[in-house]
Symmetry: C2
Subunit: 135 residues, 2 copies
DNA sequence: AAGTTGTTTAGAACAGTTCTAAAAACTGAA
DNA sequence: TTCAGTTTTTAGAACTGTTCTAAACAACTT
């Protein structure tokens, strides 16, 4: 058989999180298929559609824990709402306004040359490139 | 004489805004000196320190109007809070976490090559580069 | 199974921002 | 100048996204 279904229970345990029903359901939605960009509200709607009752607070808890565990990264592109990105590798984003859609593009084709050195007393943490486009 | 003090009344009128006491005071704080990055709360504290009573709603109104008029641009770098930037020309940002400070750097030294073409049916609107650094 | 600890939950609380509608201020014409 | 018409300001309510609280519940250990 091709494409063994990942063991979410083990993956959660590996990062020190108990594999509860809620977390496993959320992990499945997030990590089972292609990379995704979700909002808390959107993921909440999705998981509730599976008929497993999960509170919004739990979705926020899980997203924050997954992010802290390095399973997700948080992307800030619009005021007042966070996106969580299942792609934790180096890449950048298209942001389609006003829809609010995020699309990845690989960073290895993109060259950013001539970045100035960080201000005194600081270390580089990450470079985000957001290409904003409109319909 | 060198460095004529700008006529904020005229500048406001030029973009179709009545030069009220509040707007002139805010424009002075924003545009009189070097380029700035302000938050609504921060600017509100500043203007109130001049002993002119200005409500927070007015600060938000003015910032949004100035942005719509092209006098400011809005920068989103952190969840839950907008920065307004008096530098409307092409440039990019350092963002110092966790302080929340923003610093400009010119875009003309920075080369971004290999950006993919925008998704079907969209036009490029702006490219934001945010260099996140930590203390 | 019992005990322990970690998790979920509903709802309250919170932060940043926008809205409401009444009072105040700006403007152009008289 | 005064006046009428219009825009702006304001206090406070409302709203949105997110976090907190503390009690019920579920997962793990023995
Ligand atoms: Mn967060
Ligand atoms: Mn806004
Ligand atoms: Zn992404
Ligand atoms: Zn700037």
């Amino acid at each position: 058989m091709s494409g063994t279904s990942p063991d979410f229970t083990a993956r959660l345990r590996a990062v020190g999180l108990r594999p509860t029903r809620q977390r496993v359901a959320l992990a499945r939605l997030l990590f089972e298929g292609e990379h995704r960009h979700v909002t808390a509200e959107g993921l909440h709607a999705e998981v509730r559609a599976t008929r497993l009752p999960v509170s919004l607070a739990t979705v926020y808890n899980a997203l924050n824990q997954f992010r802290d565990a390095g399973l997700l990264r948080e992307v800030v592109v619009a005021p007042g709402r966070s996106y969580f990105d299942t792609n934790t590798g180096h890449h950048h984003h298209f942001f389609v306004e006003p829809d609010g859609e995020l699309h990845d593009f690989p960073s290895d084709k993109v060259t950013i040359a001539g970045l100035p050195t960080p201000p005194k007393g600081t270390r580089l943490s990450r470079v985000d490139v957001i290409v904003r486009v409109r319909r």
